[in-house]
Amino acid sequence: MPSQLEGSLAVARTVARCRPQVVAAYPISPQTHIVEALSDMVRTGELAPCEYLMVESEFGAMSACIGASAAGARTYTATASQGLLFMAEAVFNASGLGLPIVMTVANRAIGAPINIWNDHSDAMALRDSGWFQLFAESNQDAVDLHVQAYRLAEELSLPVMVCMDGYVLTHAVERLELPTREQVDAFLPPFTPRQVLDPHDPVTIGAMVGPEAFTEVKYLMHAVQMRALDAVPRIAAEFEAAFGRRSGGLVRPYRTEDAETVVVALGSVLGTVETVVDEMRAEGVRIGALGITCFRPWPLQEVRDVLAGAQRVVIVEKAFAAGAGGIVGQNTRDALRGTPTVVYDVVAGLGGRPVTRRSLHRLFDEVLAERLDPAGLHFLDLNTGLVERELARMRNPRPGPHAESMLRDLGSVGAESH
């Protein structure tokens, strides 16, 4: 039965129905509502048997998950932003050890300047950590991806990050369908660990490996990642058969059949992108969208299959590689190697700036009019005057901190909207 639920609460209830035996988490906005709800469920006994560890840091959270997973428990944590970076060392360790932990990342910007609002710079900073990365487009998607994440993680014995946009999804109340306990139990078999700390059969986990085998152990991580390119769509198909809803998979094309222009994006912005696609289709523009649900492993062939026929691709992404360009853009160019398709890199929605239909429509018009340089990195709704004035101030010997100067320049602290 559909219900009106906050995204965080919906995810928490779904995670509980996946029956994690250990939850270890440290509070950080905008992840807090998820772990608060799980704490409630453990305390009331609604989620049992389960141990909830209130750790002293995100580094402790991921470390406790590592220990719990190695001891054979289905394990869950959630974090965001600085928290994800603070646990980074343990994030790489979890995948290196092959532990099927599931973690929600309530995507949020990385400071400095400190900013609690949504973008993808946290998940993108750890895109090469060896974890699978799934991006939710809606709260229904977030809920459904968590159920699939446990299947994927435990089948391939690698950890999964389910990325959902902070506030935009975590704090949004939407009508959605929660998977029932019975449905989840039928879909998700009990966790059978590939390796476990057992006094009756002692093994050494986490031995030191030198040059003689390090490459091979790391190669295995890549090989298992590539196997997920088969597992992710298969699990999505099984999910659809069991739950009657489409969710997951590698990529999600929208009106791309005859599209000359395709917009590529991840996460909740896809809803707005698809609305603009509809608007422009109504104007006679042959435009479509491609949602990347699975960013790691990178579905190179699937992306190529959808995009290779297009004349141009516009990447709208909520993170970038300073000094290099777009991140999803670089991956997309790799997929389009050898094709004449032109790729435009556009950074949008940083630190919670809204990505509006009007701005996207104007952007796509500019691209179609060939007024955007495909060689450059573009920032949607960039206040160029503000940047230029700060660049001018930087010619002073002691211009002071950028963020404060620019906020003062704007005339009101953080109140300017675009």
Binding site: P49, G67, S69, A71, E89, M208
Partner: protein, 332 residues
Amino acid sequence: MAFQEVKLYQVGTYVAGNRLLDPERRTVQARTDRSNAITSGHRACQGCGEALGARFVLDAAMRATGGNMVAVNATGCLEVFSTPYPESSWQVPWLHSLFGNAPAVASGVAAALRAAGRADTRVVAQGGDGGTVDIGMGCLSGMFERGDDVLYVCYDNEGYMNTGVQRSGATPPAARTANTKPVGAEPGNPFGQGKSVPLIAMAHEIPYVATATVAELHDLEHKVEKAMTFHGPRYLHVFVPCPLGWGAASADTIRLARLAKESGLFPVFEAEHGEVTSVSRIRRQVPVEEYLAPQRRFAHLFTDPPRTDVVARIQARADRNITRFGLLQQGA
């Protein structure tokens, strides 16, 4: 010599020789059923105090738990010398994750066992002083305050030996390390720095805190077995000389550990719920010079002219420990 004189003050303590004890109280290492938790063939240096300590700690823990335990290890010498791929010295289920997270990993293992209804399987975490007093401090304190059922053992060799003998928060004043060389106005490690993690552990009011040295291995075993009678967080801080890092002879490991205790520089005691419950008293007090002089890390104190001023400051530290913990025998 027809017979060896029995020194009566040893009787009834765990300092006593094995043969003076009831069979039941003899050392774990003297038993045919010892578990050899860390078996031979590892790559520790000759005279490594940590290898010795770890063997006694884990075999005692194995005996106390009937072999029903899991070990978690921080990165460091012990981890490196025991698990060079594809070999492993461990005869117990053993998990190494990172340098600074062993206490949190152990908390996770304990939580998983509890959730699975297997809380009878006990968890022992171990690390060196760098992994414990410095980089692992946050996770250690978290594990303590949450009351997780973990025995954490710190093998303290007073520095980062695995990375080439750098200073840690457990390095004593005046000691030469790779980054506290005996140069400048204050040669070696500065005075007034460092911390006592046993006292910090006691401030958490956890059930059991103890210190021990590898000079009194039976006492060490006893403390491990005692620790396993408690549930909740327990902390054992073991003083383990490092021939390589300290510039000491491999044959002097036990002697140096004994001198550290007998000089008062390393107080050996037990505490329960934040209160000291027993102190291992000094049997024959020695001046700190006896402990310092055989170690090249203190050689700059014994040049011509000798730095008697610095040695006096170290002696003052020993004297403070003696007063603070009541380390001298009554009437001694």
